[in-house]
């Protein structure tokens, strides 16, 4: 892929002696030696010492076995969960320093989400579903709904804003979810197994759309998946294992 950059995923630790050269582009999101344990009584180490840098506009894929902690890693990036060690820095700010309300604000303004199970609200129309993040961010209702229609058009569902969620196919549902993830022009889209519930054909369509839309808007994207097909569209791909995050060559 043309946009792949030959750079280490690990961030160079600033040398105490020499001033580190400023990175060419400010990192959007950085994971610094992040570790996480699970379980209360007998905690088990899920992963440790993860370093990852997500630059604006880049698309990263993280693959791994079930239960290796891929989704947890996404939760950490979104501020939905806290690391047991290390730091998650979004836009230069350590998420650990954010309060509940500030984290919520970060999510509704700068992050979009795509889930395996779509998570569209069943009693809302497509337009209402898509407009939800804008309304949560305080946009006026009329503007939010108009913007939602544009966003639906961008994912190939023009003029279908009034439809109910129940009539959609899996692929269409995920497109709506993608429209919702992008409607408020976030800096980062976090996608958790976006093709997990889709047949291969729909999956391909959704992935193409994800690639195209994020690139067009310069949105960074982190996608966790166990599908190597999905990982293939990424600029860079990493494998999460017990030994940490290792970059794998994209096919």
């Amino acid at each position: 892929m043309r946009h792949r950059r030959a750079r280490s995923a690990t961030l160079p630790v600033p040398s105490p002696i020499l001033p580190a050269p400023a990175p060419p582009v400010t990192a959007l999101l950085e994971l610094v030696r992040v570790g996480k344990r699970v379980g209360h009584s007998r905690p088990r180490r899920l992963f440790t010492a993860i370093d990852l840098r997500v630059d604006a506009g880049s698309l990263l894929a993280i693959v791994g076995e079930s239960g290796c902690g891929k989704s947890t890693l996404l939760n950490l990036m979104a501020g939905l969960d806290r690391p047991d060690e290390g730091q998650v820095v979004f836009g230069g700010e350590d998420l650990a320093g954010l309060g509940e309300a500030q984290a919520a604000r970060l999510r509704r303004e700068r992050i979009g989400f795509v889930f395996q199970a779509f998570h569209l609200l069943p009693h809302l129309t497509l337009r209402q579903n898509v407009a939800l993040p804008l309304r949560l961010a305080g946009s006026p209702s009329r503007a939010a709904l108009a913007r939602a229609d544009e966003s639906l058009a961008e994912v190939g569902l023009p003029g279908r804003g009034d439809e109910a969620v129940a009539v959609l196919s899996g692929g269409e549902s995920q497109r709506v979810a993608l429209a919702r993830a992008l409607v408020h022009r976030p800096a980062l889209v976090l996608a958790d197994e976006p093709t997990g519930n889709l047949d291969p054909e729909s999956a391909a369509g959704v992935l193409a759309l994800l690639r195209e839309r994020t690139r067009e808007h310069g949105v960074a994207c982190v996608m966790v998946t166990h599908s190597t097909t999905a990982a293939a569209i990424a600029d860079r791909a990493f494998r999460l294992g017990h030994d940490g995050l290792t970059e794998v060559a994209a096919t």
Binding site: L80, Q128, A137, S141, V167
Partner: protein, 878 residues
């Protein structure tokens, strides 16, 4: 059916609004139940408030109107005081004007058109009892104080007939002037004659005109004071003197001067006092009804709690999505509260309509006091007061919000990580360790509050204590339940119980948010049932026993029943005594004794009382003490003793018959008939103080072998005027009294039914909420070889366990509340005590019914999880 057609949301609607509505739309039945519950609470509360407010406004309007421009109203009880006081008052230099008034309520028995002669045998009889309050006034004196009571001779429509001597009518000895409402009530017109019952005779009065100044709705008649004294056999007696002070005379000086010239026992009351007296008349009754309305609101709030718990539980993942998409906790909370608020507003609006309609209907049907007899002589029109309307609507919304608060706060605390996984229901709800401290704190506060005295005659602290007891019991239940279930679990293990039993107990002891709901619902509902059950049963039992003691005779004769002019003449009493078959006649006279200008007067009951054995006629509380020589023994009722702080053995000075009399409190007796108090006194003693006492009632003991019907037949044959006398047997009085009692407590039975529904709804909500999640669980159990029957048994046992623990805790809480009601709230509101009588059979059967219904509800609600094909659920996704 296309889903699009089925519930296509409104195009262009706001997504947040749509989210709120979707919560309601998902379970329209439950939403409706909540709306109805809130509506019932608001409607009841508002209805009672409006009825009372209307009646009270009207009544205090009447009081104000009767006082007019007078500074004071000098009044004594029903027996009045000597008229010579009037001349002394009128002569005082401090007094600018003094108007004497005779105030008598008489029964109107017949009506004759002008054509008919004023003959007692003519005219038509009123089929029902009609009472008329007649004020005997001195036109010339009153004109300076209250022009609105001045009569107009002739009919309102035309001028007086030219030949009619209108001064003679205004001062006539046989003329009376009626307010418009009284004319309507009596279906009479100017020119008609009314036959009024006075003692053993019927007095015919001509309606010579109207009272155009009297406000609409006031049933009132006015006649000349001399005529009233003569016609109603009240010669020499005044009931009131209205006084206007000379300019510049201060209150203290005026009171001193007046008190020096009026007989003892004449009260000097201002308009404010009279107002206060009016409101005191019904305050306890009003508050108690309002508290019942609040109980209804509480149940509404509890319904919101249980439905909102369920709704939140079902939408955990949706809420998690909102949070993930960036909604803060506060935003989530306000969205969910808005949802409850919509229900609250809908319920309140519906309730407001119900309340206004119910109040209008009740006032039209029963009058302003719902038949309680507190506000006689007025026919009010409903006045809807906007402040009350808003207040009760706000209360309805507040109840909905309060009910939703706990589940909503809990929902906002759900951890986000993992909530949005592909199969969120796989995430077991984390067991919550129940906490003891809040519940114990609530109970402790309740315990302290119930020790506080009443405020303004209202047991406000007692009511707060009841609420806290209920909440404390609910709060403690999870901990108690968990402790019980864990022990049961161990016992079950040891006993080698069937697998489904073990599973049921294990599940119950897991104590999730939803099991809390089931328990809380059962506790609240059973507590309300038990509390009301015990209170009503104690009250009824005490009233029943009281009735037996106060009705020892075989027959009772009554002549007055709400009027001042029905009595038995001494000839009639003598005739009764000599009637064969009657062994003993005990007459009874009733008067009033105003002791405090701001309180309703105490009833005075004069009847033969054996000073050596007062318990033979009065249901005594505690022991009687013989009066020292020279002191008059009196017997205050329990309410009187409480209100005026009287104790057995105490000496007091009371104004009886216009003189100050040294009395001795010989005993206190129980009385459920007059919560403003009653004073019993021996009839002979009373006659010595008040010559010319009129006997209104008599108790008859039959000779051995005589039959009641035989005696009544003989009396109706031999005693002229017997037709006006009501004769009743004690059994019938008792039956009527208890029927009235049951009717006035009917509303509590309704609330009990509502309480049962709350409990069952809680159980149903819990089991149906978990049914979906448990399909997988039951699928596994079936796959492992359990029969559907065993699973149903497991569900039933779970229902039984919740109901049993809930009923146990609820029973304890309800018992405590009933103690509060019996020992604190009733004595503080009505100043009477009662003996605790626990209706064990009723409570046990209620508990049994609750347990059985709960088991059934659990099975029904969980049936989806054990339907055929459940095994397939293992593969199902959300």
């Amino acid at each position: 059916m296309s889903a699009r057609g089925a519930r296509s949301p409104r195009v262009g609607a706001d997504p947040l609004a749509a989210f709120i509505l979707s919560g309601l739309r998902a379970a329209p039945g439950r939403a409706l139940a909540v709306v109805l519950a809130i509506a019932i609470g608001v409607g009841m509360g508002l209805g009672i408030y409006l009825i009372n407010r209307t009646a009270l406004d009207e009544f205090s309007g009447a009081v104000q109107f009767l006082i007019g421009e007078a500074d004071y109203e000098l009044h004594a009880g029903r027996d009045g005081f000597d008229e010579s006081a009037w001349a002394r008052v009128a002569r005082l230099p401090e007094v600018a004007a003094a108007a004497p008034v005779v105030d008598v309520t008489a029964r109107v028995e017949r009506k004759a058109r002008p054509a008919g002669a004023a003959d007692a045998s003519q005219g038509e009889a009123y089929p029902e009892r009609r009472m008329l309050r007649v004020l005997g006034i001195d036109l010339f004196r009153l004109a300076r104080l209250n022009t609105r009571l001045i009569p107009m001779a002739g009919s309102a429509s035309g001028a007086a007939e030219p030949s009619r001597d209108s001064l003679a009518d205004l001062l006539g000895a046989d003329t009376v002037f009626l307010s418009a409402a009284a004319l309507v009530e009596l279906d009479a017109q100017v020119g008609d004659r009314l036959g009024l019952r006075v003692g053993d005779s019927l007095r015919w009065l001509r309606i010579a005109g109207t009272l155009p100044g009297v406000p609409a709705g006031q049933r009132l008649a006015v006649m000349d004071i001399a005529a009233a004294q003569w016609q109603f056999d009240r010669l020499g007696v005044l009931h009131r003197i209205d006084v206007k002070l000379a300019q510049g005379v201060d209150d203290a000086r005026a009171r001193r001067a007046i008190a020096a010239v009026v007989p003892a026992g004449v009260d000097i009351a201002t308009a404010q006092d009279a107002e206060r007296r009016t409101s005191n008349l019904s305050v306890a009754y009003r508050v108690n009804l309002n508290v019942l309305a609040l109980v209804a609101l509480f149940t509404g709030g509890f319904l919101v709690y249980s439905t909102q718990s369920l709704s939140v539980h079902r939408r955990r993942s949706q809420l998690a999505l909102l949070r993930t998409l960036g909604a803060t906790r506060a935003m989530t909370v306000s969205l969910l509260l808005a949802e409850a608020g919509v229900l609250g507003v809908a319920g309140s609006l519906l309730g407001a309509m119900l309340g206004v309609a119910a109040a209008a209907a009740a006032i039209a049907r029963f009058g302003g006091d719902l038949g309680g007899g507190f506000f006689p002589g007025i026919a009010p029109e409903l006045s809807v007061d906007p402040a009350g309307l808003v207040l009760f609507c706000l209360l309805g919304v507040a109840a909905a919000l309060a009910g939703a608060l706990l589940p909503v706060l809990a929902a906002a605390r759900v951890p986000l990580a993992g909530a949005l996984r592909a199969q969120p229901q796989d995430v077991a709800e984390r067991a919550i360790r129940p906490r003891l401290v809040p519940g114990l704190a609530l109970l402790a506060t309740a315990g302290l509050l119930c020790l506080l005295p009443a405020r303004d005659g209202l047991p406000l602290a007692g009511y707060a204590s009841v609420l806290l007891l209920l909440l404390g019991g609910v709060a403690l239940t999870p901990a108690i339940g968990r402790a019980v279930f864990i022990r049961l679990d161990r016992i079950g293990d040891r006993l080698d119980a069937p697998a489904w039993m073990g599973l049921a107990v294990a599940r119950a002891s897991a104590s999730s948010g939803m099991t809390r709901l089931a328990l809380a619902s059962v506790v609240a509902s059973f507590a309300v049932m038990v509390a009301m059950g015990i209170m009503v049963s104690s009250f009824r039992d005490s009233v029943d026993r009281w009735l037996v003691t106060v009705l020892p005779a075989d027959l009772y004769l009554r002549t007055a029943a709400g009027s001042d002019t029905g009595w038995l003449t001494s000839d009639e009493l003598e005739a009764l005594r000599s009637t064969p078959g009657i062994a003993r006649v005990e007459p009874l006279a009733v008067g009033t004794l105003p002791l405090d200008a701001r309180r309703p007067a105490v009833a005075l009951v004069a009847r033969p009382i054996d000073a050596t054995d007062p318990g033979a006629r009065l249901p005594l509380i505690g022991q009687a003490r013989p009066a020292p020589p020279g002191l008059l023994p009196v017997y205050p009722s329990e309410p009187m003793a409480r209100i005026y702080r009287m104790e057995v053995g105490e000496r007091r000075t009371l104004a009886l018959g216009g003189q100050s009399v040294e009395v001795f409190v010989a005993a206190i007796w129980r009385d459920y008939a007059r919560h403003y108090g009653a004073l019993a006194i021996d009839l002979e003693d009373y006659r010595r103080l008040v010559p010319g006492v009129r006997v209104s009632d008599a108790a008859l003991w039959l000779a051995p072998g005589a039959s009641a019907s035989g005696v009544v037949e003989r009396l109706s044959r031999d005693l002229p005027g017997f037709s006006r006398i009501e004769v009743t047997e004690p059994g019938i009085i008792r039956e009527q009294s208890l029927r009235i009692f049951d009717r006035s407590f009917a509303i509590t039975y309704l609330l009990e039914a509502v309480a049962v529904i709350i409990g069952l709804l809680g159980v149903a909500a819990t089991f149906s909420a978990e049914a979906l999640a448990r399909r997988r669980e039951f699928g596994v159990q079936r796959a492992l070889g359990m029969t559907r029957g065993a699973i149903a048994s497991q569900l039933a046992l779970e229902g039984v366990l919740f109901a049993a623990v809930g009923a146990a805790v609820g029973g304890a809480v309800g018992g405590a509340i009933s103690l509060l009601l019996v020992e604190v709230i009733n004595p503080q509101s009505f100043h009477w005590s009662m003996d605790l009588a626990v209706p064990w059979a009723l409570l046990v059967s209620l508990a049994g019914a609750l347990v059985v219904l709960s088991a059934g509800t659990a099975v029904l609600a969980g049936r989806a999880a054990i339907a055929p094909g459940t095994v397939g659920a293992l593969r199902e996704d959300w």
